[in-house]
Amino acid sequence: MISGPIGTTRRAQRGMLREWRLQALSVFSLAVAFVCLGAALLVVSNLSAVEERWAHAGRASIYLKDNATEDDVESFRTALAAVPGVTKVRYVSGGQARAEFGAEQVPAHPELASLPVEAFPASIEIEVRPDLPDEKLQAIVAKLHQLPVVDDVETYRTWTDRLAGLVRGGVAAAIVLALVVLAAVLAVVGSTIRLALQRRSTEVEVLRLVGATDGFVKGPFLVEGIAQGAMGAMGALALLGILFTMVRSRMDGELSALIGVEPSFLPWQMAVAMVALGAVLGAVAALLGLRKLVAV
């Protein structure tokens, strides 16, 4: 059958090929709009990964008071090793901390070599099970704070909170950008469809005269709108992919090691959702543009 979905798609394809310049301009404009949204989503998804990683860092540093004796430290280590959820306990003296810091940073920053050993307090580094709930870790920390040998406990929670704030900001930015994209898609696809309608007014008139139903006349324009939206989103993903690869290839590997997460491209579900969003918005814009169809 010619007038089914295949026929409609074929007629849409014919129309798009005949007006490929107009279509290409529309798809390019949409791709630019979607790149903004995609970039925001890319940042948000990577920040979320870092937040997730740090939220479950699975370690804590317990800084000891200067007056802690070796016996205190040893009994403290033994007690910590017996706490449920704690998997590893390691004592780091001030001298050891100084040495480790010097090995890592002094070659790059020689001025740090003069830091005194007193600047590095002795600590006990503990590792906990990665699946240990935050509440339990917080309960352990609260108990540790009450011990006389403990000066401070660092669970890196502050960093996680900061990252969470950043993610929330990123999500808000992505929502704003999504609205901008929505407006852009409606404007661009709507204008393209109206322009196509104007340029193909004879075609529409002929279709009306030979007894085409509304659906038959509007179908190809609707398909064009969907295709423009989806292709705009796909173009944006391709462009983002190229930019992402370029940025990642220049990224210092130590940065990834430091933050503990390898930067990753948008998850496939998000990419598919972006293309689907483009298609849906394209369809809506086309329908809005088709409201005033040439009447015969």
Binding site: M1, I2, S3, G4, G7, R18, R200, T202, E203, E205, V206, L207, R208, L209, V210, G211, A212, T213, F216, V296
Partner: protein
């Protein structure tokens, strides 16, 4: 080109006005077209048609003529529902065209063929595509469409020209494509709105001959023209639109037609 159903007895004409709703068998016995007390006005106090009455039987070839602005095009536009009547009825096979819902209008048009002075072809499409579209809207299989378009192009003398872009054809050829598009669906009624208006006299006569051939096949022709040279070619029924009414001059040739036409009030 032979048709698969050449040997089968012709089926009674049963136009389809809505999907799944056909005219009854008795519809084939009625006049194909009736105008009953039709009024149409674009400006208050200046009606184009005022109480027009007219009956056209199946298989007739009817010329509609009159001065510019007499309402020839309006009459045709009301028939294919590009315009609506202000008052009265237009019955196509007994069905009141004016009372059709907007959803039914496409199904009315599938039972009509319309040819225009400006051809109304999509220049970017090929000849084949311009003709095939009339069958594509019906949802016919591609194989059948190809066969019937080939047949229609052969009837209008454009066999083998299917791949040509419509925009590069001469005026006469373009009008032939438009006629092929109008007849490819085998409509019972063919409307022609000044179809020779853009053609030179010889081409106009050729196109008229084509309409006559189509009429010989049983299709009713409703041919609006102000070209009086066409009216004199053969004795045909002529409807003169004058003062918003239809004046019937049946089966005449000039000079009698000339006399009658000139005697009408203008």
């Amino acid at each position: 080109m032979p048709r698969p159903d050449d040997d089968a007895p012709p089926a009674p004409f049963r136009p389809l006005l809505r999907q799944g709703v056909r005219f009854g068998r008795e519809a084939a016995e009625r006049p194909i077209l009736m105008f009953e007390d039709v009024y149409k006005s674009y400006r208050p106090g200046a009606p184009v048609l005022r109480g027009m009455n007219l009956v056209i039987e199946r298989g007739e070839f009817v010329f509609v003529t009159g001065a510019s602005g007499s309402g020839k095009s309006t009459l045709l536009r009301m028939l294919y529902r590009a315009e609506t009547v202000d008052k009265g009825r237009i019955l196509f096979m007994g069905r009141d065209v004016a009372r059709l819902t907007a959803e039914s209008v496409p199904f009315l048009r599938r039972n009509l063929g319309v040819v225009f002075q400006d051809f109304k072809l999509v220049k970017a499409w090929s000849v084949y595509e311009n003709v095939a579209i009339a069958l594509e809207v019906l949802g016919l299989p591609g194989r059948l469409i190809r066969a019937r378009v080939g047949e229609a192009l052969e009837r209008v003398g454009l066999q083998g020209r299917g791949e040509d872009p419509a925009g590069v054809l001469s005026g006469g050829e373009q009008q032939r494509v438009a006629i092929a598009r109008a007849i490819v669906g085998e409509p019972a009624l063919l409307l022609a709105d000044e179809p020779t208006g853009n053609l030179d006299p010889q081409l106009a006569l050729d196109i008229l001959g084509l309409f006559e051939e189509i009429n010989e096949g049983g299709t009713t022709i409703f041919f609006a023209t102000h070209d009086r040279s066409l009216l004199d070619v053969r004795a045909r029924r002529i409807i003169v639109l004058d003062e918003g009414r239809a004046v019937d001059i049946a089966g005449t040739l000039s000079p009698p037609f000339e006399d009658q036409y000139e005697s009408l009030p203008h």
